[in-house]
């Protein structure tokens, strides 16, 4: 996940909207139920049956198209003997296809997975790569239009309308976050402040002077802004802020509460991923009950990141997305690496036919499996933080005794933790053991250790160490 975005005043947008504005878009903002605007009610409030029929149609067209136009997929389908026209009759049949990984995208750097000739591509973004080549994402004119509409949906759902002044603190560059949000906000007709990332003091100043009513940022940056305002002695109540639209990283309900209380806003969550489009994949409405997926444009599955098995509604696993309308870079069963679940039940806002994503729990690469349970070491850190009210230096360690895995949590003893009272230490260890046990379902062994006992990598304490392969010391 994670997006940031692209550069200067781009000419695409001009020709784009110039050519089409008023013909298909923008749609009327209609009030549904309790005064909550829905950007495209005809699409967002489809019944479940309508959604599935549309997904079937669009998936069929997408499979036919990638088979014809993308050699990567033609080879993949041929290898497993999958003929789209014969073998795809139901959404379930998609499960027969292998996944597309970020590796595949890197390997096809830069344009090998594009499904249209480059002359049809009007924009190219790229997501940063930690290893290997960056993943390059192309957009046709129509893709950009779709993108704007999808972002307009999530921003509308998050409360944004024409009256708003919206400050976008995502990066504007090759990545997708900044420009993506900008398109949607402009389509709605809000006034966009493309402040991009960083220079927090200036952000705060702009927020005051330009009367920003909507802040778009990562949750942690929103809190950083709150810190900065505190330092500068600025009372958030004197600002015009109403909403904070958050994305870009996993966050918690506690963080939401903190953002809402410290900035005096309603904070909503949304999800995007550059490879499939950027922001606009899913977004929360003001009910704050999970992110409504744009299921008319993306088909979502949650899988077990290890076995690849498709999981049931409510089960947590890796989000896998298939694009249904993308022209330049259609992706089939793309492994996002993001861990979340599809929520059961429906939201009161009226978008009842589409499903919702839970907030992200973390990255798949971070998931470790101990005793068959998926554990994200960083979440254990959050838990510890909640217990002590401050960040602890810790390491999650997997060990093996006989044939059974053990979960250990090693916590570095600091000045503060180094209290003489053994009893308090023991209480702390008990509390941690109980909380972790309740949280993930396995009882860990909690050890207080010297900081030097924690393994480091590049000068940083590793969150997870696997001692299962090595003979126990």
């Amino acid at each position: 996940m994670g997006f940031d975005t692209d550069t200067d005043t781009d000419t695409d947008t001009d020709t784009d909207t110039g050519e089409v504005a008023g013909v298909i878009q923008p749609n009327l903002t209609v009030n549904q139920g309790e005064n909550m605007p829905i950007w495209e009610p005809a699409k967002e409030c489809m019944s479940r049956d309508e959604v599935r029929q549309l997904q079937l149609e669009r998936l069929q067209a997408t499979l036919n198209r990638v088979y014809r136009n993308v050699s990567f997929y033609r080879k993949m389908f041929d290898r497993i003997g999958f003929v789209p026209e014969d073998d795809f009759a139901d959404l379930q049949d998609l499960q027969r296809l292998p996944f597309t990984t970020s590796r595949d995208l890197s390997d096809s750097y830069p344009y090998a997975m594009f499904a249209v000739p480059l002359r049809e591509v009007v924009r190219v973004h790229s997501s940063s790569a930690t290893t290997g080549n960056p993943r390059v994402v192309g957009y046709t004119r129509r893709d950009l239009k779709t993108w704007s509409t999808l972002v307009a949906r999530i921003l509308s759902a998050a409360g944004v309308d024409t009256e708003d002044v919206i400050q976008v603190t995502f990066a504007y560059g090759l990545m997708t976050g900044g420009l993506g949000i900008q398109y949607g906000a402009e389509l709605i007709g809000a006034s966009v402040l493309p402040t991009s990332v960083g220079r927090t003091e200036r952000q705060v100043r702009i927020m005051q002077d330009f009367r920003t009513s909507v802040l778009v940022s990562t949750p942690s940056y929103a809190l950083l802004i709150a810190d900065r305002m505190e330092q500068l002695g600025i009372d958030p109540k004197t600002l015009s802020l109403k909403y904070c639209v958050c994305a870009g990283e996993p966050w918690t309900e506690a963080m939401r509460l903190e953002i809402e209380q410290r900035l005096f806003v309603r904070a909503t969550d949304n999800y995007g991923i550059s490879e499939v489009i950027g922001p606009g994949v899913a977004g929360e409405c003001l009910e704050q009950t999970g992110m409504h997926l744009a299921e008319d444009h993306f088909y979502a599955e949650i899988i077990d990141p290890v076995s690849g098995r498709v999981l049931e509604e409510g089960e947590e696993g890796e989000l896998v997305l298939t694009t249904l309308t993308r022209e330049a870079l259609p992706l089939i069963r793309y492994r996002t690496g993001d861990v979340c679940s599809i929520l059961p039940g429906s939201c009161a806002c009226g978008r009842t036919g589409v499903r919702r994503l839970s907030r992200l729990r973390g990255r798949c690469d971070d998931v470790v499996i101990i005793k068959g349970i998926n554990i994200i070491p960083a979440r254990i850190g959050d838990l510890l933080e909640r217990i002590r009210g401050e960040r602890m230096l810790y390491q999650v360690v997997a060990t093996r005794e006989g044939h059974s895995d053990q979960l250990e949590i090693w916590i570095a003893v600091t000045e503060e933790l180094f209290f003489d009272k053994m009893r308090e230490q023991r209480t702390l260890v008990d509390v941690i053991r109980n909380k972790v046990s309740n949280f993930i379902g396995i009882t860990p062994r909690v050890r207080l250790v010297e900081k030097s006992s924690l393994q480091e990598e590049n000068g940083v304490v590793k969150l997870f160490v696997d001692l299962r392969a090595a003979p126990a010391a």
Partner: protein, 243 residues
């Protein structure tokens, strides 16, 4: 209203429909375009019960149509204006319309009321009500074919190539009539080779090629779509797979 799901149909030995899915919602005009032999007419025949799909499902107002005969399908509320009009040339205009109202034959009063309404709407047909249908002009015959289909009081009207073989001015009239039908809130599936006219009038469209749907979307979007422009409107350049 109409949901077609992954339908495979053979036309003789030819695998004419290879997993086609589409839907039509109440009150919509949906256009299906594609070159000759793309499978458009086979799809119509599958929906109307003339050529049963080997695989897949066709649902109309929540009910499965598979295994139903053509007459039952008309009773379900689907009426077809067939390709080439297929009016009964040796019958009078009136008799043609009566045939269209066949499923309401036990209610002659209703048939006559409907017929009078159609004559009001298409006065030229009223003037020629006793004339043999074969003596009408092409445009009049098309009006008659549409009227005949309306006699069954359909929920969904399917028009198969209504502009075929007609003069440009007459085509304009026919599309005007289709536009009016839509204004009345009728649901229409329009099959056409005249892509421009068909997409202009449509809410949504599907583009078929060799038995498959390759594109779909809002009519206005498809009209501007490169692939449609290239294949059907004679503009543009080559695709990746042609280079």
């Amino acid at each position: 209203m109409l949901n077609v799901k992954s339908v495979h149909t053979y036309y003789g030995n030819i695998h004419a429909l290879k997993g086609v899915s589409l839907h039509v919602r109440a009150g919509e005009i949906v256009s299906l375009i594609g070159a000759n032999g793309a499978g458009k007419t086979t799809l119509v025949q599958s929906i109307c019960g003339f050529n049963r799909p080997r695989k897949g499902a066709i649902e109309f107002r929540g009910e499965d149509l598979s295994g139903r005969g053509a007459e039952q399908i008309v009773q379900q509320g689907i009426a077809l204006v067939p390709e080439g009009r297929q009016i009964f040339a040796t019958l009078s205009v009136e008799n043609n319309l009566e045939m269209g109202g066949f499923i309401h034959r036990r209610r002659p009063d209703r048939i006559h009321r409907d017929m009078d309404r159609l004559f009001e709407r298409f006065p030229i047909l009223g003037q020629r009500r006793r004339q043999l249908a074969g003596t009408l002009s092409g445009g009049e015959q098309q009006m008659l074919a549409i009227s005949r289909a309306l006699m069954s009081r359909p929920q969904l009207l399917i028009l198969d190539e209504p502009s075929m073989g007609l003069a440009p001015l007459v085509i304009r009239d026919i599309f005007r009539i289709i536009g009016e039908l839509r204004q009345e809130g009728r649901t229409i599936l329009l099959i056409e080779q005249n892509a421009r006219a068909a997409l202009r009038i449509a809410d949504r469209g599907y583009v078929m090629e060799t038995g498959k749907v390759v594109l779909q979307g809002e009519g206005s979007m498809l009209l501007r779509h490169r692939q449609v422009q290239r294949a059907y409107l004679g503009k543009g350049s080559k695709e990746i797979w042609e280079a």
